[in-house]
Symmetry: C2
DNA sequence: TTGTACGCGTTATCAC
DNA sequence: GTGATAACGCGTACAA
């Protein structure tokens, strides 16, 4: 393994000078620089970053923790994070937590052992005290999902308003019996979307019926199960709002099973605008989050913390959008 | 930042002894060990791996390069890689190449700069000479996709046999006009699946018709486009084999657009058995690869190279399976 | 069983 | 503009 000493020897200079050339730092004469570069090329020298990182006491690596890489919602967010990271000479480490706090803790070792310089949580599983503990000691940002009460910066949309918009859209179409497919978890987004649902009903003078709230687990199958439950209800429903696209797609499947049609018999609204939302039949009406921008913003926030320029935690809210497609007002091919 | 010296001081021993305790290495008296552990706990000491890694000249990090993390096919493969890695105290770095050779090269810097100890390619974009160059100098494994002629180990299924099985299944159901949705790329898997298609036709005495081969780009939309093209053909088709599930799902959508039904009018077979294949309507018949096992095998192969126990390149072939669902023989709800 | 001392490859400080 | 050299934190001969 050729190192900086070898280069110095071949170029006939000191290691300090080689280092200066490598880092484009102060004052190296053109002639010397040329010699050094020639030696580097000749030896096919690659700087050993293990040495550099130790010396600079940094890893140039960002930890990105998410429940599951294959969740299509996250890919655009991650892309945003990565693009900003790369522009600033950082690499990112993507880690599946499988929504498991102990796995999350395992990966946080990378932070404590100085193998990464900061962490972005896409859906923290830690308790808020543990999370605050991390946030105090290391550059930390929560992105999309966040824990209420943790003193850690976050970037999200207004899930309350988004839930409200989704349900208001259904109400405006004349629906009064609107089922909700939610989840039993402690995500702020879940609670807020649910609250938006209730507020929209209330503002329109529609009585709240607790039987219209069902609980899935973000999976396709749970979406089917919840929809069946709603359809079998006395009084039934004419519309369904699911807090994730995957569950909404499952719900549409259940509707078809009963030989009913979307949107003619049952209108469906999802949440997230994953790519499959425009591939489903009928295409899904949904709430779109600015995923890429959320990722960029989160990474920029983290960089500021790493540079030490900000200390207090900041909360940034970006705009969402209702995307109307076939599942609420469109023409379905199955009709 | 507390370091090994601080621990040594508090425990009243030398740094060497602390290091021995940390690494459970030779001969430390129970009493001393206890003192050291107490000091570690008291100071909340976390070993700085930047130092350790430099000293040991390793990063304990594996580079995993894939076209796109959100491609659902890869998530199980990655899970296999990760489980084996973790069991051996390695972390993995997942990197999106966007199927772009220059991005791939960017990430390979991590290897050359000693920030990772080996690389697994899920779909190499490099030319075979460049790939061989990497394979010669660093622990390297290709997984699923691979470059023919590169002297680098790989783990895959027999794509030729799998393509054959898929098409034979359609022929056994009585189909004679079978369209193929392939891709214009240089992947071995593509060529082999295509060759399997042709061989199955040949073995059954069905004349080959080049117009029945269409080319997409693995996307849903391209699947729709190719299917439309096949359906509009003079003589039409009664079945379609797509070399990816996503394109197959797109094809089913195109069939419905023409007010035809799957599988009554057109049978469809996909490839990969992604989770959406059992969520589509109708559920998709497809070829299943042992994704998790492929990942485990690849990582084990890599570990052997890192340990230096094997040098020559090895080629491992795992078993595939035809999963028959509604899109070829089942009952569709739309009929 | 334990301690001393060196070196891993690099960068940064201080001379000149 | 350049060189000598001391760190960075850790692991491991070698000595005791």
């Amino acid at each position: 393994m050729t190192n900086i000493q070898d280069v110095a020897k071949v170029a006939g200079v000191s290691v300090a000078t080689v280092s200066r050339v490598l880092n484009n730092s102060s004052s190296v004469s053109a002639k010397t620089r040329e010699n050094v570069l020639k030696a580097i090329k000749e030896l096919n020298y690659q700087p050993n970053l293990l040495g550099r990182n130790l010396r600079r006491m940094e890893a140039r690596m960002i930890l990105v923790l998410l429940p599951n890489i294959s969740n299509p919602f996250y890919s655009r967010v991650v892309k945003g994070i990565e693009d900003v990271a790369r522009k600033n000479d950082y690499f990112i480490m993507l880690c599946n937590t499988d929504s498991d706090a102990s796995q999350e803790k395992l990966y946080l070792k990378l932070l404590k052992n100085r193998l990464s310089d900061g962490v972005i949580f896409l859906a923290p599983e830690l308790k808020k005290e543990e999370l605050s503990e991390i946030g105090i000691n290391y550059p930390t940002v929560q992105c999309c999902e966040y824990k209420e009460g943790a003193r850690v910066s976050h970037v999200t949309i207004d899930n309350y308003a988004a839930g409200y918009n989704a349900v208001k859209h259904l109400i405006d179409l004349g629906h009064k019996r609107i089922g909700l497919i939610s989840c039993r978890n402690n995500f702020v987004s879940t609670k807020q979307r649910e609250a938006g649902y209730r507020k929209a009903l209330e503002d329109s003078g529609i009585d709240f019926d607790s039987r219209l709230i069902t609980y899935g687990d973000y999976s396709f199958m749970s979406g089917m199960r919840c929809a069946r439950q709603l359809l079998d209800l006395e009084g039934g429903v004419t519309a369904i709002f699911a807090i994730s696209d995957v569950m909404a797609i499952g719900a549409m499947r259940a509707v078809k099973e009963k030989n009913m049609s979307v949107p003619k018999d049952i209108a469906v609204v999802g949440f997230d605008n994953i790519s499959f939302a425009s591939m489903s039949d009928p295409m899904l009406t949904t709430i779109s989050q600015p995923k890429y921008e959320i990722g960029c913003t989160a990474m920029n926030l983290l960089l500021e913390q790493i540079k030490g320029s900000i200390k207090e935690s900041r909360h940034i809210v970006l705009e969402h959008e209702l995307i109307v497609r076939e599942s609420t007002v469109g023409h379905s091919m199955n009709n």
